[in-house]
């Protein structure tokens, strides 16, 4: 498979961000922050009216896109910025494009966008092919 600068990366789509997954992640992260679990706490803090996705779940969505785009490749480096919250029920789309090709290394830029609200995460990554 060949890759070229400017190539779009096939999007990874999450049709509806899962509140149940947030409960699993509270266990994985050993962090029962109620803004991820209890909508009443989110409302009381003035943060919205739906539970808030844990940040690393959003990173996982973007990693899923990269892993699907480069089968057998390894993410060597990845940086992502958290720009806004992702809420339970949101439709999230991770997408990106290739910015450099150097031998078996591919540089990409990517974002995570929420339908109706825009970009909530953005970043860059380097993938090593045939790791």
């Amino acid at each position: 498979m060949s890759y070229a600068v400017g190539d779009a990366i096939a999007p990874f789509v999450i049709p509806s961000v899962s509140a149940d997954a947030m409960k699993d992640w509270a266990v994985f992260l050993a962090d029962p922050n109620p803004i991820h679990l209890d909508v009443e706490v989110v409302k009381a803090k003035g943060l919205g009216d739906r539970v808030i996705n844990q940040g690393p779940i959003n990173v996982a969505y973007m990693m899923n896109m990269l892993m699907a785009a480069f089968p057998g490749g390894m993410i060597e480096a990845m940086d992502s910025r958290f720009l806004d919250n992702v809420y339970g029920g949101d439709k999230a789309v991770a997408s990106g494009r290739i910015t450099a090709v150097d031998g078996n290394r591919i540089d990409c830029e990517f974002s995570l966008d929420i339908e109706g609200r825009g970009t909530v995460n953005a970043g860059t990554a380097t993938i090593r092919l045939n790791a």
């Binding site: 699993d24 050993a30 803090k45 779940i57 969505y61 892993m67 060597e76 480096a77």
Partner: protein, 152 residues
């Protein structure tokens, strides 16, 4: 006079060790649950989902999230926010392999933003290493924003 001189400096916490003592192992069952929770199937080659970099280092570092905040003289109930997360993988995370975490706080910088008011920007670095020693398999730098409502 600069704006920064209007408020007291951030606590001096750079260099604080975050070395952990816990052993962290991703079981195949946990990896499957995590993969399913983010909409993918687990890899068949024994590698764990790479996002375990964040989970493993947070869970097995030497302080809890609340403890890191306390070190920075910040109440976790005031709502720390993730600013960014970076990771450099040298090798994949493997299922059923025991790991330990080393790391340190790199900086805590007090700033004023139009959106958040006075805030401290915390940067810390963590490394995931085989529990029995050897080179780190990954290194991650996380940046958190700690809003200082009391100084706004």
């Amino acid at each position: 006079m600069s704006e920064e001189a209007e408020f007291p400096p951030a606590p001096q916490v750079a260099g604080t060790s975050l070395d952990g003592t816990k052993i962290f192992t991703v079981s195949a069952d946990e990896n499957e649950r995590l993969c399913r929770s983010v909409g993918v199937t687990p890899a068949a080659d024994g590698t764990a989902h790479p996002v375990w970099y964040y989970v493993a280092t947070q869970v097995a570092m030497g302080k809890t999230v609340a403890g890191v905040c306390e070190t920075c003289e910040f109440d976790v109930e005031d709502g720390p926010m993730m600013g960014s997360s970076g990771v450099r993988f040298f090798r994949p995370i493997m299922v059923d392999q025991p790991y330990k975490v080393g790391g340190e706080i790199l900086s805590l910088v007090r700033k004023k933003s139009r959106k958040l008011g006075v805030m401290d920007v915390l940067t810390y670095r963590l490394r995931l290493q085989p529990a029995d020693g050897g080179e780190a398999i990954l290194e991650t730098d996380n940046v958190w924003v700690l809003p200082r409502k009391e100084l706004a």
